[in-house]
């Protein structure tokens, strides 16, 4: 009888499970890749909406309430929407001071740190550009941080997380080789963006962003600035406008009509476009978008 109880209890112990709340879909994918069967990820933001302006719906409060841990991007990308959810979730495990909280920006070298923090320069991120997951070379670093984090809060499955990390890193390395090969001819190519959320992608592959359609971060395009962009496009002949999926394309279409430049939609996360459902699909799409002629 005692043996029976032992065997009944065993499966429950082995399948001990973490409910991880994550701010963005890419973090969910990484956490799932590393955590495997021992974690369930709850993604707070939709991949096709502006990551700065996620709606802090009450349904997300319910998710925060039940989370065992929280992983966020950081770099102030979530500053407009995550603090109210943390405040209202009434869950000490998602507090920034808790060991069950992970800020991925700490541990990543952010680029484009502003020399002056001033709202006159638009709604800037004081710590630098927070869209670091769009450098595919950063993905293994982020995966390792998540693996270390999961091991620190669930030591029992440390070896499983380490094995999953090793598998993921190996596969990702092959992807990196393929993308580097495909992107090599595009080094030095000039591009225009609406918002500079592809700074890391551009840097990884040597693309040169010559202008953004928004004059300053978070400030809508003005007619004067739009004309300046048009003049610059006529002078520099960039390949295309790499446009995010969440801002209106109206201004970009106006610029295309005036200059003939191509508009290319660039997803920033899983779910940004329907076909982008995995991390590798995200970078497959990004690399194909700028190499397809």
């Amino acid at each position: 009888m005692k043996k029976l109880l032992f065997y009944l209890l065993l499966p429950a112990a082995l399948s001990a499970h973490l409910n991880i709340a994550v701010s963005y879909p890419y973090i969910g994918a990484l956490t799932k890749a590393v955590g495997g069967d021992h974690v369930t990820t709850v993604v707070l933001a939709k991949g096709n909406w502006d990551p700065h302006f996620v709606v802090p719906r009450p349904s997300l409060i319910a998710k925060m309430r039940r989370a065992d841990a929280l992983i966020m991007n950081g770099g102030q990308l979530e500053i407009g929407w995550l603090p109210p959810l943390i405040r209202r979730g009434n869950n000490p495990k998602v507090n920034p001071s808790a060991p069950t909280f992970l800020n991925l920006a700490q541990g990543i070298e952010l680029i484009n740190k502003p020399s002056e923090v001033d709202r006159a320069n638009g709604d800037i991120h004081p710590a630098g550009n927070p869209h670091f997951h769009l450098d595919p070379n950063n993905i293994p670093l982020l995966a390792k941080r998540i693996a270390d984090f999961l091991a620190s809060i669930d030591a029992e499955h440390k070896s499983i997380y380490e094995n999953n990390l090793a598998d993921f890193t190996l596969k990702w390395g092959k992807n990196l080789e393929r993308w580097a090969q495909v992107m090599a001819p595009k080094k030095g190519m000039k591009v225009v963006q609406f918002h500079d959320n592809l700074a890391y992608f551009n840097k990884a592959y040597g693309l040169e962003n010559i202008a953004t359609i928004e004059p300053l971060p978070g400030i809508p395009p003005s007619p004067r600035h739009t004309l300046e962009v048009i003049e610059l496009i006529r002078a520099e002949h960039p390949c295309c406008i790499l446009h995010d999926v969440y801002h209106s394309t109206k201004t970009a279409e106006y610029i295309r009509d005036k200059t003939g430049i191509k508009i290319v939609l660039m997803p920033h996360d899983l779910g940004a476009l329907e076909s982008v459902d995995t991390l590798s699909a995200l970078f497959d799409h990004l690399t194909e978008a700028v190499t397809h002629d």
Binding site: P56, P58, S59, R87, R88, N90
Partner: protein, 429 residues
Amino acid sequence: MKKTLIAIPLLCTLLFADAATILPVEKRTFEQSKFIPDISLILDASYVTRNKKDDEIAHYEIPGVAHGIIGAHAHGEHSHATYNAANGFNLNYGELVLSSSVDPYFTLDGTFHFSENGVEIEEAYFTSTALPYGLRLRGGKLLSNFGRINSQHHHYWDFGDMPLVYQAFLGDHGINEKGVQLQWVAPTETYLMFGGEVLQGENEMMFGTASIADPTATDPDAAPLAESADAPALFVAYAKTAVDIGETTVMPGISYARGTSRLDHFEDEAPHAFSGMSSLYGADLTVKHYFDSYSFLTWQSEWMMRDMKGTQYALDTNTTTLGSASLRKEQAGYYTQLVYAYNMNWRAGVRYDSIYQNDVTKNGAVQEMEDGFDRISAMVEYHPSEFSRFRLQYNHNTALYNEDGERQSVDTIMLQANIAIGAHAAHDF
């Protein structure tokens, strides 16, 4: 010898020169700038034009419900203007917000209103961050979570003024009290929150605890008309839930407040006072649909009903005679508003206010009272950025009566500016 005398201080200067070196921030031993709280300052100003003069409108009232709800009014020893009170320019306030973690267990938030009339602590409270089981405790001076709009700061509202039923029942600040608040978020898939508050009960329109002195008494030691009530004397409870249907969120809530009423208006032009118990019932519904990251449609409504039961005292200023009567007021109203945000920059909205029930019973006899107090508002709003906002609002108010008991038609146009510097203010849904 002279050379030696000159050389010594120079030598000393060189020896100690290192002490004057300014170390980089990270090497200063007692550097504490990282512990500065989040600070922001929000300026709220307006230009108002009405078809009535300021001194006229100060005497308007909603019969049986409230008086002096537009314009400055004296109350006891202090005088404070309501928002957007004067024709012409108004500097409503500069709101200073300070916010930070205290330790792993608490956060501290303070909201201070600076105006020409002085400084007011609007909110100052600690909030627990480490309680288990979905609990959160908050204590200090706070805006109650009664209803929907009560807990939101003025600058966050979609319209420049309080809904009529709130103004009439609770005044411009709603339930804003010293006390404690406990909230519980249920561990369910669907959002479900229950809360309770124990508050001092000093709201000047509906709740109060101070004793009411007899204005006709010549003896300074005479017994008061009404003894002071034991404080805390206001209790609030509410339940809120929300469901998402696609990109639409439906968020209903119910609220209840009960407390002692000690309302001393003997210094008013029509001197009177009320002593009793009051209940306030609320139901709210917000439906919000997002079209994309920046555009949405919000339909928000709140219904309120109050039941005030006690004794009314009235001073006849001609005969200096004090009369008293048992009084019961059962009054109800609501507002409903629709706001459309076209994009990140432009919004427009309409609002309809109504106080439709005004039942007053005096000494058991039903009084003949006017009802059907209405107001309609429309607004257009422009946000140059996240940190500044300009709103043009029009109000048509037929809820007000003058001193002769004649219904008035008050038309107001307001141009409001709301401008913030400092830390990002992240708002709830």
